[in-house]
């Protein structure tokens, strides 16, 4: 952890700011949320690393998708993700958003979350331990440092494709497209 490295703060304040002030949107998408309270409370205390839960997407820059995503939740997830300001990071938590997990044959959960919104990293397991979240956070730090956590750029660039996938899964979306440009409508 290079939080106290003042030289780095002067060199790239944006990256350092992002790293040590990850504000996670509070959204209980699935059963993974059960491990979030321990993470933010006395036992593990994520606030040590600047990770705190915030109330609205506008204030956040980290989206932890905790667990399986049903079709109805997907709509809310897309809505929330689009309202987050850039730069924003998404982490899929648990096996289910990766490939459906144990609900691989359920008619109401979507199987691959990254078809609909871009994901920076995954935490595998059902259910992953709270330590896994810290591992993910440190890993995200590395990615930010190396400039690889660019899922939101991908979303902007291929918005057309994402939007098409979203509409395939959800039917017509009742909000206007986020980006008018950002093609991908090949």
């Amino acid at each position: 952890m290079d939080r106290n490295d003042i030289k780095k703060w002067f060199k790239s304040p944006d990256k350092m700011g992002d790293k040590y002030s990850l504000w996670a949107i509070y959204f209980c998408t699935g059963c993974g949320i059960i491990e979030i309270p321990p993470v933010i409370t006395a036992r593990w205390d994520a606030e040590r690393f600047g990770v705190i839960p915030v109330a609205t997407p506008r204030q956040s820059n980290l989206f932890l998708i905790t667990g399986y995503v049903s079709v109805k939740t997907l709509r809310a997830i897309i809505r929330t993700y689009e309202q987050m300001p850039e730069p924003k990071y998404t982490v899929g938590f648990g096996s289910c958003p990766i490939n459906g997990g144990m609900y691989w044959d359920s008619y109401n959960t979507i199987k691959h979350l990254d078809k609909y919104i871009p994901i920076d990293g995954w935490i595998a397991g059902c259910m992953p331990r709270p330590e896994a979240i810290f591992v993910a956070v440190t890993h995200l730090w590395t990615l930010i440092d190396q400039g690889k956590a660019k899922a939101y750029v991908k979303y902007r660039e291929k918005y057309g494709l994402y939007r098409k996938n979203q509409e395939m899964a959800l039917g017509k979306l009742d909000w206007p497209p986020l980006y008018t440009t950002g093609g991908g409508n090949d």
């Binding site: 949107i25 509070y26 959204f27 209980c28 998408t29 699935g30 059963c31 949320i33 059960i34 491990e35 309270p37 321990p38 409370t41 006395a42 036992r43 839960p53 109330a55 609205t56 997407p57 399986y68 049903s70 109805k72 939740t73 809310a76 929330t80 144990m102 609900y103 044959d105 359920s106 008619y107 109401n108 959960t109 059902c126 259910m127 331990r129």
Partner: protein, 365 residues
């Protein structure tokens, strides 16, 4: 005159679980509330029809993430009933201890949610810390922090490890030692009283009419608990009390929860003392070829939220034909919540919801 439609959840700091309430508001009074579940619907009961009897254990505990253990228990009980399996005496005791530990952890979670809702972070953090201590016990016993899959048709998966009894006692003493702190900070706090007294009030008749169970019912003064009424596991062999209150509001419910938690701790001590020696499980036949005779079963137990029921039909195959859960949050979160929210203030939405102890995945399944 313009109508206001306000969404409470799913993405809301006051919402525990993925659940949504659509409120029709005038001023800051709620005229009409419509619960909007389904954000967590996975079609469990359908999926279980496609898996074998044993394969269903990992699935069934995920119905309620806050306390998966009663789910395992009820499924195991239903299978035992259909297959006519006997459970050894020691397994009954282990199951009871296990379920009561789960109740303690669940109530601590509820305390976290409720005090957090009222903006009382300090107590919330303490409760979550203590819950984690209980989860450590589970981890040692079963290997999993949240999902345990410990109860098995015909007993439990494995016996208590060496010295586990002492560790249970130690942990519970640690938690019990903080009860005066909790009381001073939270339960006897004047502001807690002000915020919860008279909020979400329901009369005994209404609670019965709308299908309230668990704390909702007991807070209105009905001494009803499945553990006493239709005793299962080892609950009959020890002496314990049902805690009730008269007023039926959020204050009473939270107090019932507090007293039940303490009662559970005492029950665990008693069960540990009375626990007989012997086998903790009975061997079942090869689970991959296991077929269960035709029949149907309705079993119910008392989870920490109230009456949990399971209606299961077998057509003699290696998979269940139909599974249907009766979860306590179902009526609480849909009918009773909607009724209580009418004419409530916006500030009390989360207060009422969490005092009803609604857990969204239980509703959606």
């Amino acid at each position: 005159m313009r109508e206001l439609e306000l969404y409470f959840g799913p993405q809301h700091l006051g919402m525990v679980g993925n659940f949504s309430i659509t409120l029709k508001v005038e001023g800051d009074r709620i005229i009409e509330a419509a619960a909007n579940p389904g954000y967590l619907h996975r079609g469990f009961e359908k999926l279980m029809e496609l898996r074998t009897w044993i394969q269903n254990f990992p699935l069934v505990c995920r119905i309620n993430v806050v306390e998966p253990d009663p789910m395992e228990m009820i499924y195991a009980m239903a299978v035992e009933k259909l297959a006519n399996l006997e459970v050894p005496e020691r397994a009954h005791y282990i199951r009871s201890i296990y379920l009561e530990l789960s109740r303690v952890s669940s109530h601590l979670f509820g305390l976290w949610a409720y005090s957090n809702m009222l903006g009382f972070d300090t107590v919330a953090q303490w409760a979550m810390y203590h819950r984690d201590l209980v989860l450590d016990l589970f981890e040692e016993l079963t290997g999993g922090r949240v999902y345990h899959i410990y109860i098995w048709p015909g007993g439990v998966r494995r016996d208590f490890p060496d010295g586990f009894k002492d560790r249970i006692v130690n942990t519970l003493h640690t938690i019990g030692g903080c009860v005066p702190d909790y009381d001073a900070a939270f339960f006897n706090n004047r502001l807690f009283y002000e915020r919860s007294k008279g909020i979400g009030q329901i009369s005994q008749e209404d609670a019965k009419r709308l299908g309230g169970v668990g704390q909702v019912l007991r807070a209105t003064g009905v001494k009803h608990d499945i553990r006493k009424a239709e005793s299962y596991a080892a609950y009959n062999s020890i002496d314990w009390d049902i805690h009730t209150r008269e007023d039926g509001d959020a204050y009473s419910r939270i107090w019932v929860i507090r007293n039940e938690m303490i009662e559970s701790v005492h029950m665990i001590f008693k069960l540990l003392d009375a626990m007989p020696e012997g086998d903790a499980y009975k061997k079942v036949q090869n689970p991959f070829k296991w077929k269960i005779p035709k029949g149907e079963a309705y079993v119910k137990i008392e989870s920490s939220r109230g009456e949990l029921g399971l209606y299961m039909v077998s057509n003699g195959g290696d998979k269940p034909y139909r599974v249907n859960f009766r979860t306590p949050s179902y009526t609480h979160g849909l009918t009773i919540l909607e009724k209580m929210l009418r004419n409530a203030s916006i500030a009390d939405v989360g207060n009422i919801m969490i005092s009803l102890y609604v857990v969204a995945p239980e509703i959606d399944r």
